[in-house]
Symmetry: C2
Subunit: 218 residues, 2 copies
């Protein structure tokens, strides 16, 4: 009585062994759902992929999906999570911590862009998700974004300590600006108004402007 924290989905009973038969079946179902969802998102796009179709391909009823996910969008951000990890991994391998800060930032953004460019849907839905306050998926995406911002901040913090950047810059705010530049640049792309390369260049230009500044140096 009186413990209905989350609406449902995602069991969290500490007394249950991870090898519990119920949980194992659950994990398998979850995997099947994700697989089906990814395939259908790829084939038809997010909005055209019906939950009922996903469920059918996963071999279950539509309502069962809600045992494992709280919303359709969560099926996507599961991917987003992995994709970000991958972007960071690619960035870190081959990263030169002594390279110019601007270069390091660009390298990270390129790695991220390369991955996102393969799936404009993901970008779009992630953005859309943040426009639904109260829904859990919004907070999940915002948390992911914060992690990205954190990484950018880390890079710039290092640059500031090496006196590559002005001493008084607020690295957190700077990281946010960089992030917002990327987000903004992706909207026209995800809407089919520009291609991936143009999007990449827009990000590049924006970052260059930020680093160089607009004011005539005096």
């Amino acid at each position: 009585m009186a413990h209905s924290e989350s609406t449902q989905a995602a069991p969290n009973n500490p007394r249950l062994s991870p090898e519990d038969g119920r949980l194992r079946r659950g994990r398998r179902s979850r995997a099947l759902i994700l697989k089906a969802a990814r395939e259908l998102f790829e084939e038809r796009g997010f909005d055209e992929a019906t939950l009922r179709a996903i469920a059918e391909r996963a071999g279950m009823g539509a309502s069962s999906i809600y045992r494992h996910f709280q919303s359709k969008e969560e099926l996507l951000i599961a991917d987003l999570d992995e994709l970000q990890e991958e972007a960071w991994r690619r960035f870190r391998e081959g990263d030169d911590r002594k390279a110019p800060t601007r270069k390091r930032v660009t390298r990270f953004l390129d790695a991220q862009h390369q991955l996102l460019a393969e799936d404009s849907d993901l970008t779009l839905i992630a953005l859309r998700a943040t426009t639904r306050p109260g829904v859990r998926v919004a907070q999940q995406v915002l948390a992911l974004n914060d992690r990205t911002i954190g990484l950018l901040m880390e890079i710039m913090q290092m640059g500031r300590m090496q006196s590559q950047l002005k001493r008084n810059v607020d690295v957190l705010e700077a990281a946010r600006v960089v992030f917002n530049i990327t987000q903004g640049a992706r909207i026209p792309w995800a809407n089919g108004l520009t291609d991936a390369e143009t999007c990449r260049q827009a990000i590049q230009k924006g970052v260059d402007l930020l680093f160089g500044g607009l004011d005539k140096s005096g």
Copy 2:
């Protein structure tokens, strides 16, 4: 035969006088719908305001709304349009064309913020709308955004000609960055994670960073 351009909504028969009784009734209905929609958005928020409730308050059936608007979101961007006009108006009156560019930009952004701060829903839905490619409302919002970017560009172009800004800055790209800073800063606010003043300051800080640059000047 074969002329179904728009799905429907918005008559455009040049042979009809604007004083045509049908059109007049239509305009009245449109106004009633907008009034009801604004009230309900205000009272319950966008997502909680049902089309059926809006229609009821407007004194008609829900489906009739689609004679005048193509989607629920269009009920909002009608406001967005006016709000932007108002922001520009407020900015222009009392604008000093010889003031420092950074100051002028800030003034405009403050004027805009002051209006948007009254209605976080509007901000959120406008953003959400741009994540729905193909739907007309997306293009409408993108067009409005472009107009804002255009105004910012205008301001900065003037600053560049007065040698306040570096000669080689891409003012269009700079304007986009400024715009993206504002958009990004509003997301946490619209999600209830920060208050309006924090949002304003974030925009302020971001713009300052952009103008000043991150690189240690050399």
